[in-house]
Structure formats: structure tokens, C-alpha cells
């Protein structure tokens, strides 16, 4: 989609057009077309080095694009990078708050920077403490919080000025599962208030919780769609196979004709096959090789299955960047 229809910018919380960023010879982001609707929870998924953080930073106005442009809340990040900062909240991947200040001091500092009116503060902080449950820890130094609590504080500080657009760069990286679930609950609450959210993640189970997902790979948007739609792109049947020797089984099956995909998943394998007869062929083959099969059953494919299918294996180049919309 080279020529984007000239829609009203205001329909989109975020819109990028041919956005590129190089670091020397490395093209971190290549020709990115991305559109996040107002009130949408958009997930940017991809392996490390896919260009997610670079994209986030450009959208936050703290990194200049090499070429192309982007608008956040209708304001150009190229022409007015400071203008977007008033209504935007950006939470970097690395904890960006002051570890030697208390929870409350961090919140007040950010409230001051965004010039949140004094009379609104008490109510807003109460709301933020309500969902983050940071209230009891308000006098604790940020550095003494747990990983999950730190992320919630980061989010609370980001939300202190009631932003219209929220950029979250791998917010749940290194956070325990319970805190992750809590964190996503908060995001849904924010969505109800009409905030548009762009969240990047390397966790594919999290990508499934978004309204739409963009798969990034080597600086490009490779696929885009609702999580269910992406998963439905998987052809065939997805089977979970738990053999006695997963590594050997994988090598064996990779060389077997008729299989769509074989990937290691936890202690077993996910095998995608075109029909049931291939499944029987697999079992026979494994029996012949004296590999014990502990379990072999059909499963609903996960985002990860879709992801591994949609991102080209190895370092070979994929086709030109697929645009959103």
C-alpha cells in the first residue's frame, strides 16, 4: 500500500508512513506503515532486534527517524516532537524512574513535569493507587520495589497526566506471571477510558490479548491482523507431540516429507500436519526409530505457532514490508 488514503489523521492514535531508522549500516526499522486506531490496544510483537524499541522511541519523539514520518494523536513526530509529549505517555523497556526516590516522590515529580493541576492530583493519585495497589508502598523507595511493582509504578507515573496515547515497550519483561496478569487487567481498564495503547512484547500469549497484532521482523512489519485472524492463517492441524527424545524427533520429522512445520515447544513438539493420515505416518515412523510417544493430541494453535509460521526461518530475507490496513 504505497499510497495511503488521506484519511483524517484524527481517526488514528498513531499513524506511521514509510518510517525508517538506520543505525549506521543497520536498518533497525524499514519502511514501516502502521496505524493504531483510537481506543485500540495494539500489540507489536517480534523477536529481539526486530525494531520494536526503535519504533517506540521514534513515536515517543525521543529518536529522530532517518526518513518517513509518523503522527501521534494527529501531531507529527518530525515537525513537533515536543508537541506530542504533552498527551503521550511512554514507558521505556528499562525502568526509567528514580530508584532513590519514593513511590510518592516519583509520582509527584512526574505530575510536576506534566504540570498536573494541584487540585486534580489527589484524586488522580488515589485512582492510580487504586488500580496499582501501590498505596501501602507510597513511602518506599522505588529501588526497593519488586519487579512487578516497579512496572506498575512506571505505568502510574506514565498515567499521571491522563495521556491520550500510551506507548509501552515490553512492559512485562521479567515480571512474574501474576503481576503480568494484573498489569494486563489495568490495560483493559485504561482501554475503557478511551486511551489508545501501543504495547510491544516478546510474550506471544500477551499478543493474544490485544485487539490487533503487528508482527515485526528485521525492522519490518511482516504480518498484521487480529490475533485470531493471524492464527487462522495457519494451514492444517496443529498437534502436540511429547516424545521421549524431542531433539532427535525434531531432526527426524524435519526431514520427513508431508509435514508443514515442526517446532520445539517446552518439553515437546508442535507439529503441523495437513491431515490425520500424516499423523499416523508420524507415529509409525517414531515406532520404527524406537522413540516412545507419551502424548500426541490435537491442540488449538497458539500465537507462538502462528508467529513461528509467519516469520521466515533463518536469516533469509522476506518479501517487502507488508503494510498495515
Amino acid at each position: 500500500m504505497a499510497n495511503l488514503p488521506l484519511e483524517n489523521n484524527d481517526d488514528f492514535a498513531i499513524r506511521t508512513e514509510k518510517l525508517c531508522r538506520d543505525f549506521g549500516k543497520v536498518e533497525a526499522v524499514k519502511n514501516l506503515h502502521l496505524q493504531v486506531k483510537r481506543g485500540e490496544l495494539f500489540g507489536l510483537v517480534g523477536p529481539d532486534g526486530a525494531g520494536k524499541t526503535t519504533t517506540m522511541r521514534m513515536l515517543a519523539g525521543i529518536l529522530d527517524p532517518t526518513s518517513g514520518s509518523a503522527w501521534v494523536d494527529g501531531i507529527s513526530i518530525v515537525d513537533d516532537p515536543e508537541g506530542i509529549k504533552e498527551h503521550l505517555a511512554y514507558m521505556p523497556q528499562r525502568f526509567g524512574l528514580y530508584q532513590d526516590l519514593t513511590v510518592m516522590e516519583n509520582l509527584i515529580f512526574y505530575a510536576d513535569l506534566f504540570r498536573v493541576p494541584k487540585k486534580l492530583r489527589a484524586g488522580r493519585i488515589e485512582t492510580l493507587f487504586g488500580f496499582s495497589r501501590l498505596g501501602p508502598f507510597k513511602d518506599r523507595l522505588a529501588g526497593a520495589l519488586s519487579g512487578g511493582m516497579k512496572q506498575k509504578l512506571g505505568l502510574a507515573c506514565a498515567l499521571i497526566h491522563s495521556p491520550r496515547v500510551l506507548l509501552l515497550d515490553e512492559p512485562t519483561n521479567g515480571v512474574d506471571p501474576v503481576s503480568r496478569r494484573d498489569f494486563w487487567k489495568i490495560l483493559y481498564e485504561l482501554l475503557k477510558e478511551g486511551i489508545s495503547i501501543l504495547v510491544s512484547t516478546a510474550y506471544l500469549d500477551e499478543a493474544e490479548r490485544t485487539n490487533r497484532v503487528g508482527l515485526m521482523h528485521q525492522g519490518r512489519l511482516v504480518q498484521l491482523g487480529e490475533p485470531r485472524a493471524l492464527k487462522s492463517m495457519l494451514k492444517g492441524i496443529t498437534m502436540e507431540l511429547i516424545p521421549s527424545d524431542p531433539a532427535k524427533t525434531r531432526t527426524l520429522l524435519r526431514n520427513m516429507p508431508g509435514l508443514l512445520d515442526v517446532n520445539i515447544f517446552g518439553g515437546g513438539l508442535h507439529v503441523r500436519i495437513p491431515d490425520k493420515s500424516t499423523g499416523e505416518a508420524i507415529l509409525k515412523r517414531l515406532e520404527a526409530e524406537a522413540i516412545e510417544v507419551r502424548s500426541f493430541r490435537r491442540i488449538v494453535p497458539s500465537m507462538e505457532d502462528a508467529f513461528l509460521y509467519l516469520i521466515p526461518r533463518g536469516q533469509e530475507e522476506d518479501k517487502s514490508g507488508v503494510s498495515a490496513e
Binding site: 525521543i62 529518536l63 529522530d64 515536543e82 528499562r94 526516590l101 512526574y110 513535569l113 504540570r115
Partner: protein, 378 residues
């Protein structure tokens, strides 16, 4: 520039300074330590020069000369010898700076009114000290000489007492005892404040960048000048505490007389402090990491300040090119101001030019720091 955001940055920075107690102790302790080290070590006064004497004459005249030498307070007799080699050896192993040999016909020639000689061997390895020792020695010899002449004249003229025709009466203004410490301490205050101030701020920006807080900070609407001025305020207060401490040390530890206006001294030092802190900011904005920032701040302030401020080497003796370079060294101007206020009790009209230069330099450096501080990821 928004005053509330600026003050928010100040409050946050002040909290961090107070909570980082180790750095705070260093910030307050180092100036005192430097003051003690330099104040005592950097004395340019030459006293008690160790001397060895070979008095070949052993006459009342030779003894009188030696009494004048040691009685002056500048020279201290270490040993007498009958051996020339011992004198040379003592100079070699640093036990004496000066070796004096009085010839065996010293008194005889004096009595006959014929010129005699005094041999002085001086250790020239420390040229300043050697030069001063020679000057002292010349004065003592000249005094001795005129005493001898007067005594001779008085002996010849039976009736009238002869006086010295010219009796020089030199009065030193401003530092009557020529105590070099009185000159050193004001200069020392300037040097210490320069180095400490630049070190204080050299970490502030680069530390935020290294710990990752900068990334969050620059995503807010805060402006570069709000950040710099906001951070400057608490460090200015801290620098001022240092300033008062080193001033009090000059007053009560080194007993340097203070003749001028305290208000003027602290006002001028305050202007200087802003420039010095801004140099630290500039280093911090440009530096890639904290280690580089401290090293560079130390080097960039200490060397030019020490060499080009007129603290040790008089600026008037420098080549013209170097002299003009000294104008961009803030400490040069502060030293001029402090010496004028401390020793001469100078008023604002005397120090107007160096003060003006401090204002210009402070404004220039802080503007460059603000300009260089980009709200972008490096």
C-alpha cells in the same frame, strides 16, 4: 522556561543529593582536604635554609658574619666542617642547600680594607629556592659590608659619627610580611571551587543517561533549560556550602587577613560558581559515560586553572598568546577578584572587569550546555 517544572527538577535533584550520603560527604570533605594539603604544602616562603660552613679564618670577623647569617632567620646552620668535599656531598644528598666557605685571609683583608671573597655553593636543582637563597645571602653580605665600612669610617673620623648616606625604608603595602600564604589562600579558594564545582555536576546528566532515567525524562515536556537550571540550583547551594567552608578555613586555620567586603566576595564567588558548575554540566552532557565525565571534568578544570590562572605562574610573564588564552579561564578572574578583595580591600569598581568576564563566561558555558542537551536518545 517554566518555573514550576524547573523547581520540580531542583527538588528531585536535591533529594537525590541528600540521599546519596557518600557523594555528599565527598563533596563536603574534599574541599577541606585540598585546602589543608595545598595550604600547608604550597608555601612559597623560604625559611630555615640549611647551611654548612667551612670557616678557614676563625676570626671575630668571620664569626660576626656567620652570626648575621644565622641570626637572620632565613638560614639554619647544619654543620661546620674543615672539608670541602663534605659540603659538596651534603648538597648532593639534600642535607644542605647552601655551602659557605670563608677564606683564611677573610679578616686580614677586611682589616687592610682590601676586597675579600666568600664562596657560596648553592643547590640549583630547585631554582626558585636557590634564587631566593642567593637574594637573602646578598642582602646579608651587603649589610655586613656596610657595617664593616661604617666601623672603619668611624674609627678614622674621631669627631663626627658617620652614618649611612642612604637609609632605604621600604614599606610593603597589602601583604606587609610578604607571607606567600596570604597570596596563596585566595588563589587556592578559586582553584578548589573550580575543580569541586565541575566535579559535582559532571555526573548529573550522564548518570541519568546510564541508569536509564533520561529516556523517561526526555519523553516528558520538560525543556533542556529547565533541566539544566533545575539541576543547577541544588548544586549551587552545595557549592556555596563548600565556599563558606574554605573561606572559614582561610580565616581561622590559615589566618589570612581579609580586608574587603564579605558581601562582594561571596557575590563574585557565586557568579564564578555558576560558570564552574556549567562547565561540569557541559562535560556531563557530552560525556559518553560516568567514568569519562569525572576524569575529563577533573582534567579540563584542574590543569588550565592551575597553570593559567596566575595562581602559581604570574600571567604577566607568559607569552602574549598564552596571556590572551588566560582570559577564558574563569579562575583567573576569580583569583584577581579574591586577591584584590582579600589583600587590598578592593571595591566593586576595581573588580568590575573580572566580574564582568565571569558573568560572560558563565552565561556562555551554560548556554552551550543547554544547547547541547538534546531531548533525544544518543
Amino acid at each position: 522556561m517554566n518555573i514550576y517544572r524547573t523547581l520540580a527538577v531542583s527538588r528531585k535533584e536535591a533529594r537525590q543529593i541528600i540521599r546519596d550520603s557518600r557523594s555528599l560527604y565527598l563533596a563536603l570533605g574534599i574541599p577541606v582536604l585540598l585546602m589543608i594539603l595545598f595550604g600547608y604544602a604550597l608555601s612559597l616562603d623560604v625559611n630555615d635554609i640549611p647551611v654548612a660552613v667551612w670557616d678557614q679564618d676563625r676570626s671575630p670577623q668571620s664569626r660576626e658574619f656567620l652570626d648575621q647569617l644565622t641570626g637572620s632567620g632565613y638560614f639554619r646552620m647544619v654543620f661546620r666542617t674543615e672539608n670541602y668535599k663534605k659540603i659538596v656531598q651534603a648538597i648532593d644528598d639534600n642535607t644542605i642547600t647552601l655551602g659557605i666557605t670563608l677564606p683564611h685571609d677573610f679578616s686580614e683583608k677586611l682589616k687592610k680594607g682590601r676586597p675579600t671573597t666568600i664562596q657560596a655553593l648553592v643547590d640549583g636543582s630547585d631554582s626558585t629556592r636557590a634564587g631566593i637563597a642567593i637574594e637573602y645571602l646578598k642582602v646579608i653580605i651587603a649589610t655586613f659590608e656596610s657595617d664593616v665600612k661604617l666601623a672603619e669610617l668611624n674609627r678614622q673620623a674621631v669627631l663626627a659619627r658617620v652614618r649611612q648616606p642612604v637609609d632605604p625604608r621600604i614599606r610593603l603595602l597589602y601583604n606587609p610580611e610578604l607571607v606567600s600564604r596570604n597570596n596563596i589562600v585566595p588563589g587556592l579558594i578559586a582553584i578548589i571551587m573550580m575543580v569541586i564545582a565541575a566535579l559535582l555536576t559532571s555526573l548529573t546528566i550522564v548518570r541519568e543517561r546510564e541508569t536509564g532515567t533520561m529516556e523517561q525524562l526526555i519523553s516528558t515536556p520538560v525543556k533542556p533549560n529547565e533541566l539544566i537550571v533545575g539541576k543547577l540550583i541544588p548544586y549551587f547551594a552545595l557549592g556555596y556550602v563548600d565556599l563558606v567552608m574554605v573561606y572559614l578555613m582561610g580565616e581561622y586555620v590559615f589566618r589570612v587577613p581579609f580586608r574587603g567586603s564579605l558581601l562582594l566576595m561571596f557575590a563574585a564567588s557565586g557568579v564564578f560558581l555558576i560558570g564552574a558548575l556549567s562547565i561540569g554540566f557541559l562535560v556531563s552532557v557530552v560525556a559518553k559515560n560516568q567514568f569519562f565525565a569525572t576524569q575529563f571534568a577533573l582534567l579540563a578544570t584542574f590543569l588550565p586553572t592551575f597553570l593559567l590562572s596566575g595562581f602559581v605562574f604570574p600571567i604577566s610573564n607568559m607569552p602574549d598568546v598564552i596571556q590572551s588564552i588566560t582570559y577564558i579561564v574563569p579562575a583567573r578572574h576569580l583569583i584577581t577578584i579574591l586577591r584584590a578583595i582579600y589583600l587590598k580591600g578592593a571595591g566593586i569598581e576595581i573588580i568590575a572587569f573580572p566580574l564582568f568576564m565571569l558573568v560572560v563566561l558563565g552565561f556562555l558555558v551554560s548556554s552551550i550546555a543547554v544547547r547541547k542537551l538534546k531531548k533525544k536518545i544518543q
